[in-house]
């Protein structure tokens, strides 16, 4: 694989695999939770529909993020981007949960 044109090294594959599967799952979970909160608390959708809508979206999100993890040009920028959005989503979720309780 490396021999062909040297674009993909072994370490990079590992970094991309971790980004594509476990990191992706964490990020997608955070995004799903945020969407569920946003739809219910922010846009007045009833909580059951908000939760289900977010869940339905989550599978498409996971699949796209997995592709991005392998397609992104730079693995460093990929990880910076993952960490940044993960942090943003985490903080948003934390604020949302402390502002309004769950059912």
């Amino acid at each position: 694989m490396t021999a062909r044109n040297g674009t993909i090294g072994r370490g990079e594959i590992v970094a991309r695999l971790i980004a594509a599967i476990p990191a992706n799952y964490l990020l997608t979970s955070a995004a799903t939770a945020c969407i569920a909160r946003l739809l219910w608390r922010g846009m007045g959708v009833d909580p059951a529909n908000a939760s289900v809508a977010a869940t339905l979206i989550s599978f498409a999100l996971f699949a796209i993020l997995a592709l991005v993890a392998f397609g992104a040009r730079s693995v460093v920028r990929l990880w910076l981007w993952l960490a940044g959005s993960g942090l943003t989503l985490g903080i948003t979720l934390w604020f949302s949960l402390s502002a309004g309780a769950r059912i």
């Binding site: 799903t32 909160r37 009833d46 289900v52 809508a53 599978f59 592709l67 397609g71």
Partner: protein
């Protein structure tokens, strides 16, 4: 840049496809069979004939349950649909100790009498195997299946990117060209039913969504039960009062519920605390009655039969989810659409299978010494034989066992299932012990022979063979035997082809190898 993107997608597609391809093949094959699970069950219970009326069946089920488990914690009745004739009942005993499934379930005929002869799990087993697997905890199986389905979704998307000319190549099915033909077969089956593959994979994930991605629900609900109540309208476990009160007749209540739903059939009945003053009866609309799988429910007081209320989940997201599950299971489908589902599923099975074979065909061309391939290659080759020819033989043997095992055998249904896995294991071992090329031919021939034997065994052991069924206009039995013959022909043809390829390869090993290298470059 574009090329490196495509290259990394190709890498991802190849390896994720290989890693989970074997499991996906089994899921696709048994899931495809599950579109005809009721017809398979009918074939596997040749003594049961005719149709059943839900109200009569419910009343019969109640009689049966009152005789075997009058003081159970709960009863669960799965009524016959328009394609089946039997009622499945389960109960949860009042004791603390969880009992074995066979001791707390029964299959009833339309009059409510337990069917004890030729005990079988029928097509239902193939349906459950496609997401619950077997010989392992259901929870693990479902996570494993979910991982495979997600890889499948990503593999489809990356496949479209990898084969940049996928849509143009669609019109190029070249037979007898070695690797090129396998790639063509993979592409044609992939593109022909691409919308189906995307739909079936995505909706498959949706059927078990709350298991795989529970965080959307957890973000809004501290208690999962509060969410269930909003969706299913089910009140939490009702507490028994301890006072005895006979359960109201179920037959009239089934008719009552049906009448509320424009005569749509009742599919399931669950009863909490039967024969207690606090008994609660809940009926759900049959999933076949509409596009959306999740229909209305009606609740009745158990002792009096008084209607308490109806429930229907509302909202666009829940409706979307319900339709997605309906699309996946296809219970609403009439004959024409059902066959289309079946053919698309077969296409998916061939797509996964040809992808697996492609992996070895492509790498064989690059082997430094094709007569002695490296270990990884050999493992994949053998696993392919086990997964493809082995599963096919297993399913054929499952049907054969249904006709050939003694009718009154103890735990007969389980022995039928064991037969499937024993045959599968047998072919797997055969593939390891024999030279790979020969093993393919032989295993495919065995699979073909087993499928061909099914109509024979049917004709010899029952009065519902192909000819009598044809004369009687019994199309379910006719179609079943014919599909078995078509499968037999397909596997035997594949066996002949693989034998021809082997002799051809032997005759001109050197020039052919050189040729392949040239086309793959």
């Amino acid at each position: 840049m574009k090329d490196s993107l495509r290259q990394s997608m190709a890498l991802f597609h190849t390896w994720s496809g290989l890693l989970l391809g074997w499991l996906l093949f089994a899921m696709f094959a048994t899931g495809t069979a599950a579109y005809f699970q009721d017809e398979i069950t009918r074939w596997m219970q040749p003594e049961v004939t005719g149709d059943a009326d839900p109200a009569t069946a419910a009343q019969g089920a109640m009689r049966y349950l009152n005789s075997v488990a009058p003081d159970a914690k709960s009863w669960y009745i799965s009524l016959p649909n328009s394609r089946s004739a039997t009622t499945q009942v389960y109960w949860q005993p009042s004791g603390e100790r969880p009992a074995k499934r066979v001791e707390t379930s029964a299959l009833l005929d339309r009059g409510g009498h337990a069917i004890t002869s030729r005990e079988t799990r029928g097509g239902f087993f193939l349906y459950r195997f496609h997401f619950d697997l077997h010989y392992m905890p259901v929870l693990w199986a479902r996570y494993l299946v979910g991982v495979a389905a997600m890889f499948m979704l990503v593999a489809i998307l990356s496949g479209v990117i990898t084969h940049k000319k996928i849509f143009a190549d669609f019109f190029m099915l070249r037979f007898g060209k070695g690797q090129r033909s396998w790639l063509d077969a993979h592409n044609v089956t992939a593109v022909l039913a691409l919308p189906f593959h995307l739909m079936i994979t995505f909706t498959g994930l949706v059927t078990l969504a709350s298991m795989y991605m529970p965080w959307g629900i957890a973000a809004n609900y501290a208690e999962q039960t509060a969410f269930s109540e909003a969706v299913f309208g089910r009140s939490a476990e009702t507490v028994p009062s301890g006072r005895h009160a006979p359960l109201a007749d179920l037959g009239p209540l089934v008719r009552n519920a049906s009448a509320r739903w424009n005569d749509e059939r009742v599919g399931y009945i669950s009863i909490a605390n039967p024969n207690d003053a606090a008994a609660l009866i809940e009926m759900s609309r049959a999933p076949e009655a509409a596009f959306g799988a999740r229909g209305q429910t009606a609740t009745f007081e158990g002792a009096t039969g008084r209607a308490i209320g109806t429930h229907q989940a509302t909202g666009s997201a829940l409706a979307t989810e319900s339709v997605m599950i309906g699309l996946h299971t296809g219970r609403f489908a009439e004959w024409g659409l059902r066959w289309l589902y079946f053919l698309s599923g077969l296409g998916g099975t061939v797509m996964v299978g040809s992808g697996l074979v492609l992996w070895t065909v492509k790498r064989r061309a690059r082997l430094s010494d094709p007569s002695c391939p490296h270990l990884g290659f050999r493992i994949v080759e053998r696993l392919n034989i086990a997964a493809i020819a082995g599963l096919a033989t297993g399913i054929a043997v499952y049907f054969l066992a249904n006709r050939l095992l003694p009718l009154e055998m103890v735990d007969r249904a389980e022995r039928e299932i064991d037969s499937l896995f024993l045959a599968w294991l047998g072919i797997g071992l055969w593939g390891i012990l024999r030279p790979a090329g020969r093993a393919w031919t032989e295993a495919l021939a065995i699979a073909g022979a087993c499928f061909a034997a099914i109509p024979l065994a049917n004709a010899m052991t029952t009065s519902r063979g192909l000819l009598p069924s044809l004369l009687a206009g019994d199309w379910t039995f006719v179609a079943f035997d014919l599909v078995m013959l078509v499968l037999a022909a397909g596997f035997l043809l594949a066996a002949v082809r693989s034998a021809q390829l082997r002799t051809k390869a032997k005759a001109g090993a050197k020039p052919r190898g050189a040729n392949r290298r040239a086309t793959s470059a």
